[in-house]
């Protein structure tokens, strides 16, 4: 336990960052996020934007699966709903992009609540199957509701503009997606300082004692689905704006599994886990490709030879995490922190 940070009020003891050190680190993080675009090239800015979109979606899924214990494989399809909402509004209404994003969140929330209805009856694997079914239904709608989605041809989205600035490139888009991600992460962290977040965790840990304490299980399960799909909707909206075009292939079931893997690798039931997991899952394939490029001059026909190896290494890393660090990257982070708290003394 940490000592040496006395508090005079309960409010201070309940705050998000409890020590000054934490505030300092948070400040340093924000500062480096501000400075980053001036130092990175377009490709690395592109990666950060993509990471942010993935973080938003993974955070939503972590609230639902990691904190509330409701396994969902529909996160990608929910993102699709958000993306198509933005696309439709962009093409058919001249509403500002902030409105479009919020509408994407709202529409996805409603869809998420409906898709979450089976959770009132089933849990675990059965719920996972039910959400897969929901995502197939949504996929079917994306393909066949041609008047709205333009079917398999896909649909184009104009880049968003604000105060005359066009967010059409990663270097401008960065300033849009990064602040929203930071805000959404703080909102998610706040949730778990209150009765709502505690109720979610109670449902995950022991739903029977949760209901003895007066927690309305159906209400809170659906609330969790609603919040998770709101996050997915916002992430999907950003996705649509970021890539400028979407089609039903953009949101396959595999993407839902990608998010599930991200929160497992990152750490179920921690906000930090959603961040680390999304960063890991997005960056590792890129870094492995980088590795292949480095080996190119030394190995004959490296790219053809090493590409399959790259996928295998990625898979092995995920399996490795499940085996050796089931609490995910967040736990490794916590261990490192603990080490430096005690350093140079040993416990």
């Amino acid at each position: 336990m940490r000592i040496g940070s006395p508090k005079e009020t309960y409010a201070a003891d309940e705050s998000l960052f409890r020590t000054r050190t934490q505030w300092v680190w948070f400040g340093i993080l924000l500062l480096s996020l501000v400075l980053y675009p001036f130092m990175a090239n377009l490709y690395w800015l592109y990666l950060v934007c993509l990471i942010c979109i993935n973080i938003i979606s993974a955070t939503g899924l972590n609230i639902l699966t990691g904190y509330t214990g409701q396994v969902s494989l529909g996160q990608a399809a929910f993102m699709g709903v958000g993306a198509y909402t933005v696309a439709w509004l962009d093409n058919n209404a001249s509403t500002p992009f902030i409105m479009n994003l919020l509408a994407a969140g709202a529409v996805t929330t409603v869809v998420g609540i409906i898709a979450g209805l089976p959770s009132l009856r089933v849990k675990g694997l059965y719920l996972a199957i039910a959400t897969i079914a929901a995502s197939f239904i949504l996929q079917f709608i994306f393909i066949n509701w041609e008047s709205v989605t333009r079917g398999t041809r896909g649909i184009n989205i104009e880049p968003p503009t604000l105060f005359g600035v066009e967010f059409d490139n990663p270097d401008t888009f960065y300033w849009l997606v990064v602040p929203v991600t930071v805000v959404m992460l703080i909102l998610a962290a706040n949730l778990f300082r209150t009765r709502v977040g505690r109720a979610f965790i109670a449902i995950r840990d022991r739903d029977i004692s949760a209901s003895v304490l007066g927690i309305n299980l159906p209400l809170y399960k659906l609330m969790s689905f609603a919040i998770a799909s709101f996050y997915a909707g916002i992430a999907g909206g950003f996705y649509a704006y970021f890539y400028g075009s979407i089609n039903p292939e953009s949101f396959p079931l595999l993407l839902s599994i990608f998010f599930l893997a991200a929160i497992i690798v990152g750490g179920l039931g921690t906000i930090l886990g959603s961040i680390l997991g999304a960063v890991f899952m997005t960056l590792t394939p890129e870094l492995l490709r980088y590795g292949v490029d480095v080996l190119e001059p030394f190995v004959h026909d490296a790219s053809a030879l090493l590409s399959p190896v790259r996928t295998m290494v990625f898979g092995l890393l995920i399996v490795g995490f499940l085996l050796f660090e089931p609490h995910g990257l967040a736990e490794i982070w916590r261990r490192i922190r603990r080490f430096f708290h005690l350093w140079p003394f040993r416990n």
Binding site: M1, T9, Y10, A11, D13, E14, L16, L187, A188, N190, L191, R193, T194, R195, V196, G197, R198, A199, I201, A202, D205, R206, I208, S209, A210, S211, V212, L213, G214, I215, N216, L217, M223, A226, I227, G269
Partner: protein, 270 residues
């Protein structure tokens, strides 16, 4: 004044009769105990009162209101708190979060204000925190472990945290399912003292299931005895101890002296 009344509960699972026409009344401000041999239906009775099981027949009334059709979470909100035989804490959470969950029904924050954590949500969290510190942690002497994860605590303390969580609800009726099972003598004495204090300082009515005869006879105002799902006796501890049917249920024969000795011995222990 009767605060909780069970009228003719009958509950069966398939062909097994867990409860047969069980009735009991709990007076406001009393400690009422339900005893009986293993499999007598005590926990079934508790689960029926708190709303997990739906008895095929019978009614239950809480502070004059018929709650037979009311679902479990609503009954909790109406002031029915309980603990479980095998501790049902949320093991991954800290003591603080577990106890705060007890106050869930007394709080109003919705998801929106929770996420922004401003104004009402913040005030409510801080107010409940202060209340818990003042009323519950001090009372049960668990303020030193408030940040410990529940899973790391010894059994006796876990039982106490579960009681703390139930008290944070500020229940009208507190149902304790075997509050001292598996405890050593010292822990039992502590728990018995806490239960008496809950009754006297908090004015909470206690209904408990317990196997420890010594404690039941010492602190209860009224005792009901179940056997094979039926109520075979009810009255003050002295009346129940003298009831030949009770003695037979416990020993299988009317070996009065052995039971009396056993009771005396256990009372001395607790």
């Amino acid at each position: 004044m009767t605060i909780l009344e069970v009228d003719g509960f009958s509950l069966s699972f398939g062909g097994v009769h867990a409860l047969r026409d069980v009735s009991l009344t709990v007076a406001e401000g009393s400690i009422t105990a339900v005893i009986g041999p293993n499999g007598a239906g005590k926990t079934s009775l508790f689960n029926s009162i708190s709303g997990f099981y739906r008895p095929q027949k019978g009614r239950v009334t809480l502070s004059g209101q018929d709650v037979t059709r009311v679902p479990a979470p609503r009954r909790a909100a109406m002031g029915l708190g309980r603990t479980f035989q095998n501790i049902a804490l949320f093991r991954g959470m800290t003591v603080m979060d577990n106890v705060k969950l007890g106050a869930h029904v007394r709080m109003r924050t919705g998801p929106m204000s929770a996420m922004f954590y401003m104004g009402r949500a913040r005030r409510e969290e801080v107010r409940v925190r202060a209340e818990i510190e003042r009323e519950v942690f001090d009372f049960l002497e668990i303020d030193h472990i408030r940040r410990s994860p529940v899973a790391s605590l010894p059994y006796g303390l876990q039982k106490r945290v579960e009681l703390a969580r139930a008290l944070a609800m500020r229940p009208k009726v507190l149902m304790l399912d075997e509050p001292v099972a598996g405890m050593n003598r010292e822990e039992k004495e502590d728990m018995a003292r806490f239960i008496l204090d809950v009754k006297e300082q908090w004015g909470v009515t206690v209904l408990m299931v317990e196997h420890d005869m010594g404690m039941v006879m010492d602190i209860s105002d009224r005792v009901y005895v179940l056997n094979f799902g039926q109520r075979i006796a009810g009255g003050t501890p002295a009346e129940v101890q003298a009831n030949p049917e009770v003695i037979e249920a416990y020993l299988g024969a009317d070996d009065m002296t052995t039971l009396r000795e056993r009771l005396r011995g256990e009372r001395g222990a607790a």
